[in-house]
Symmetry: C2
């Protein structure tokens, strides 16, 4: 297991907690629900090991990780019925492989544009709504 002490996906510290909440752990990744719910259902699927680029993963790891990313996308899709899901691995400053899953809705923000095309104000949910969404996803992933 490769751990980077500077990386918040490795350390799971306050920097991570400020941005997202764990939904469940899968075999190769951890699923987080983003606190900013400007895009309802927005999640992160973080690979368990510290690895910057997809091509640095052994093929079998890449396959299993992508299966999990697809599984989470499907759970979001079936439960929240977005019109499209955007998938992004960015990580210039946090080079630990993690996919942002950003559900897009035809009548929602930035439909037809890159999800990050312009700064939008952060939108948090009331605690109960956030918990409900978290449970919905964990249930869909067979974690509860």
């Amino acid at each position: 297991m490769n751990i980077d002490q500077k990386c918040f996906y490795c350390m799971k510290d306050a920097r991570l907690d400020n941005l997202m909440v764990e939904v469940c752990r899968l075999n190769k990744s951890t699923v987080y629900l983003f606190k900013d719910q400007t895009f309802p259902g927005r999640c992160v699927v973080a690979y368990h090991d510290h690895c910057a680029e997809l091509f640095q993963l052994p093929p079998s790891e890449l396959h299993e990780y992508m299966d999990e990313v697809a599984q989470v996308a499907e759970v979001i899709f079936k439960n929240l019925k977005p019109n499209k899901i955007n998938y992004a691995i960015l990580g210039d400053l946090v080079p630990h492989t993690h996919v942002h899953l950003v559900p897009k809705y035809e009548n929602g923000p930035l439909w037809g544009e890159a999800f990050c095309a312009k700064p939008l104000p952060v939108k948090t949910l009331p605690n109960d709504e956030f918990e409900e969404l978290k449970k919905l996803l964990a249930k869909g992933l067979g974690a509860i």
Copy 2:
């Protein structure tokens, strides 16, 4: 083979030609070099079939496609030496699975931000430089 007559990745028409140039075809995807080279080496890896979401691909197709995405990223990485590659599947309006591979450089535009965080002017290259870059990638992919 599933073809959508409205989709420019299926039809490979002028809408596609305006944005990108084919580098080579791999087993499951076609590699394009983006004309806008604000991010040197920016490419698109388009899956051969018309399919909107990763979870709609059969697992073996997803694995082979992601292997190709990783292979193209590695070729970009080794040849152009970016500090990080950003990977994005957007496609709200063109729901044909394609990954944008956007090389990011520490001293280049939008380092540390989502590659699409703010509008940047389009940057095209002189023909010879563009052709050279295209050949470099095709060579790295074993296509020439």
